[in-house]
């Protein structure tokens, strides 16, 4: 019996092996959305815990990575819905080395506020699509929705963001 089949039957050793293999990828997925390492670690554990509890529903012939990515994205989305505020970048994440002028700092603040004002289901599409530059297909697979639904959310989000940035007269 291979690892995934053993996992599906509840074998704890198989789960530990899969956990160690995939924790890094799950973490990377989540930290790109929540942008806070400590929260991303908690959500990584939560994601793999959800996967373990749902193991009976996993089909061993399907892609385990894609299944985990979807659970991780949903866990991160649940988190965004529960906090409804922008989590500022902590010091250990790469920051822009260029010094800010007062105008640039103001502009950054406005852009972050505009992103923060989006509903989580729109914000996640913007973060993954426009900031992390993922394809529509990858985002759609992660969220378990169609590509056209992702495009629709992106159009709505962009329209809202542009409107807000125009209101605040933000220049690139």
């Amino acid at each position: 019996m291979d690892l995934l089949q053993r996992f599906a039957t509840g074998d704890l050793d198989a789960f530990e092996s899969l956990f160690r293999q995939h924790q890094g990828a799950v973490y990377r997925r989540i930290v790109r959305i929540v942008r806070d390492p400590a929260t991303a670690e908690d959500l990584t554990v939560e994601t793999l815990w959800r996967a373990y509890r749902a193991r009976a529903r996993f089909r061993p012939d399907a892609s385990f990575e894609a299944w985990l990515r979807r659970i991780a994205t949903n866990a991160a989305l649940d988190h965004l819905r529960s906090v409804r505020r922008y989590v500022p970048l902590p010091d250990d994440l790469p920051a822009d080395p260029r010094p800010d002028t007062a105008e640039q700092a103001e502009s950054r603040k406005a852009i972050r506020s505009a992103l923060d004002s989006l509903a989580p289901r729109l914000r996640i599409v913007v973060q993954l699509g426009l900031i992390e530059e993922e394809s529509y297909r990858t985002i759609a697979e992660s969220l378990g929705i169609s590509e056209s639904a992702v495009k629709l959310r992106m159009f709505r989000a962009v329209r809202i963001l542009r409107k807000k940035l125009q209101q605040w007269d933000v220049k690139p």
Binding site: E16, R28, A40, W49, L93, G129, M154, P172
Partner: protein, 73 residues
């Protein structure tokens, strides 16, 4: 995402919020997973179940109470 409008906005966003290309996990999370698995499950107190049963019974036997209940919600 080749639309010029998206491209321009994407550049603006990335200038304010840096993309995280290869963020790395700094520690093994398996011990945290084991801790989570061993946590006692949250138990619902018996009186919560009793309250839910009473509320359910009221709604079934006195459906006229539903608008009043909704009003007070």
């Amino acid at each position: 995402m080749n639309d010029p409008e998206f491209k321009e906005l994407g550049e603006k966003l990335r200038s304010a919020i840096q993309p995280l290309r290869q963020p790395e996990l700094s520690r093994d999370l398996w011990p945290a997973m084991l801790q989570k698995m061993n946590e006692p499950r949250v138990r619902v107190p018996w009186f919560d179940w009793a309250l839910a049963a009473i509320a359910g019974a009221v709604l079934i036997f006195f459906p006229g109470a539903i608008p009043a209940l909704l009003y007070h919600l």
